[in-house]
């Protein structure tokens, strides 16, 4: 049975050419970039090339890119780093109710250590209201962190507008762009952000590597302390193969982006329409158009998500319910609840996230298979009976 992978938002396979490019840096060109002899300088040159490629992808300057171990570390570094560096100015952080746990939990950590946080509510599409941001800013606010696009429902925030409000108030602005980098056009200067997180494995780079854009002049206390790599902004021996992989993934994403955005938007809209058509009582989560080109998220009423995922898996289809991180946990998605869904609707959510290897046939297969799964589960559901 052909496996159909529709969970690209959880992680993506590294592209074969990305893995190829990484290979020499494991073995022959394995030097430590801090070493001055030839092996070391080869590795350093590779890291520098990757930095240029990542900078190009997001319109930044090389020296504004700091490599990290992934999106989580980038988010932690941004929040903790800016908070601690600006402690004398204030202790208030603004974020949204639908951030990834890497931001939410880091906020909570800071809240336990003398900071206060405002968690902006969102509307039913998952959108933050710029007015709410304006109102939340106090004289103590040092940082606003709102994600570029949400990993569960795909809603794209009006970051440029939010960042402008922050800038006018003299507050630093961070955006978690883990779901958008390499997926949709993105320019840090147009967005006007001070910090931006990305993660390689979300756009066909390897797992365990990411980057944080830090606009020149943004004060930041280092998060990882040690040998002073990355111009003292992130210590630890550089993950050279990983960084090389991130660099090439960034380069390829930049070159292919326009075509992919068009192609995936078409497939996405076909899948959404098909699901609505073929299954009763399905609602689309997130916004119809301010949406990642590859995200489909629906709530299928009266059935629970995991049981759908398992049945889909039995048919060779990989999808998810809520975010990958919270599957295995019992709480319904905080994102869907923040959008106003009832608990049972949140528990009945399905996310299909499309990607590079998704084809029209895969969409058709999902549309063929899912209605049967839903019927079977609904026949078992005590919720449906009580609604009849």
């Amino acid at each position: 049975m052909k496996r159909i992978y529709m969970d690209y938002a959880a992680t993506t396979p590294a592209r074969p050419e990305v893995v190829q490019a990484m290979l020499p840096y494991f073995t022959e060109a394995f030097g430590n970039p801090s070493s001055i002899y030839s092996y070391g300088q080869e590795a350093k040159a590779a890291v520098d090339q990757a930095r240029t490629r990542v900078a190009n992808l997001i319109g930044a300057r090389e020296e504004e890119i700091v490599f990290t171990s992934g999106g989580t570390e980038a988010d932690n570094t941004a929040l903790v780093g800016v908070a601690l560096a600006n402690e004398s100015k204030g202790n208030h952080i603004i974020t949204s109710a639908i951030e990834h746990h890497a931001v939410i939990e880091t906020c909570e950590f800071l809240e336990k250590r003398g900071f206060t946080a405002t968690h902006l509510k969102v509307d039913k599409y998952g959108l933050v209201d710029p007015d709410d941001v304006r109102k939340a800013i106090t004289s103590k606010t040092v940082l606003i962190s709102v994600m570029h696009a949400n990993n569960e429902i795909g809603t794209i925030q009006p970051i440029a507008e939010l960042a402008r409000i922050a800038r006018e108030a003299g507050v630093y602005f961070h955006t978690d762009a883990v779901q958008t980098t390499g997926h949709i056009p993105l320019d840090v200067n147009q967005l006007g952000v001070d910090l931006l997180s990305m993660s390689a494995h979300k756009f066909h780079g390897p797992k365990g590597v990411g980057a944080l854009y830090i606009k020149k002049g943004t004060p930041l206390t280092p998060f990882l302390h040690g040998g002073g790599q990355e111009k003292r902004r992130r210590s630890g021996t550089e993950n050279v193969p990983g960084i090389v992989g991130l660099g090439l993934a960034a380069e390829l994403a930049r070159l292919e982006m326009d075509g992919e955005v068009r192609r995936l938007t078409g497939l996405r809209d076909r899948l959404i329409a098909g699901l609505m058509e073929r299954i009763d009582h399905v609602r689309l989560n997130g916004h119809a158009t301010k949406r990642l080109p590859n995200n489909v998220n629906v709530s299928v009423e009266y059935v629970e998500g995991e049981s759908m995922i398992l049945n889909l898996d039995l048919e060779g289809i990989c999808a998810s319910t809520g975010s990958a991180c919270s599957s295995g946990s019992l709480e319904p998605s905080h994102v869907l609840l923040a959008c106003g869904l009832l608990h049972e609707q949140a528990h009945g959510s399905l996310r299909f996230s499309l990607g590079k290897w998704t084809e029209e046939g895969d969409i058709n297969r999902v549309l063929d298979v899912l209605p049967g799964i839903v019927s079977k589960l609904r026949a078992m559901s005590p919720l449906l009976k009580s609604k009849k």
Partner: protein
């Protein structure tokens, strides 16, 4: 390659794919209703009792794979048991009969046990009233 649903034992997946005794029951002698939408699992268990013996059981469940499999298993386990024997069926027995459950899913077996107890309670209180 790991099999589909590899977080679960084969037994769990069998009961998940082919749940036994799904459905409603006309005029059940006892009904158990446990769980709620917040926790994400809702189970309804119906039993038919004749001469103190459970002669039939049916369930309906909204929930994850483990919730469906434990519901299915508990209906199998009670079938033919006396009320006293059925009350002895613990969540552990359900888990064992399913060849184990992942730690994060243990609560489902507890729910299944509770559904059974609640159905029996319902039967006992109804028969006391009669």
């Amino acid at each position: 390659m790991t099999n589909a649903g590899a977080i679960y034992s084969e037994k769990v997946m069998d009961h998940f794919r082919n749940p036994r005794n799904v459905g409603d029951m006309e005029n059940p002698d006892g009904v158990g209703h446990v769980g709620n939408p917040t926790c994400g699992d809702i189970m309804e268990l119906y039993i038919r009792v004749k001469d103190n013996i459970i002669t039939d059981a049916k369930f309906k469940t909204f929930g994850c794979g483990a919730a469906i499999a434990t519901s299915s298993m508990v209906t199998e386990l009670v079938m033919g048991k006396t009320i006293e024997e059925a009350l002895e069926i613990s969540n552990k027995a359900v888990v064992e009969a399913l060849d184990g459950l992942p730690a994060v899913k243990m609560h489902c077996s507890v729910l299944a046990e509770e559904a059974l107890k609640s159905a029996i309670d319902d039967y006992l209180s109804k028969s006391a009233k009669r």
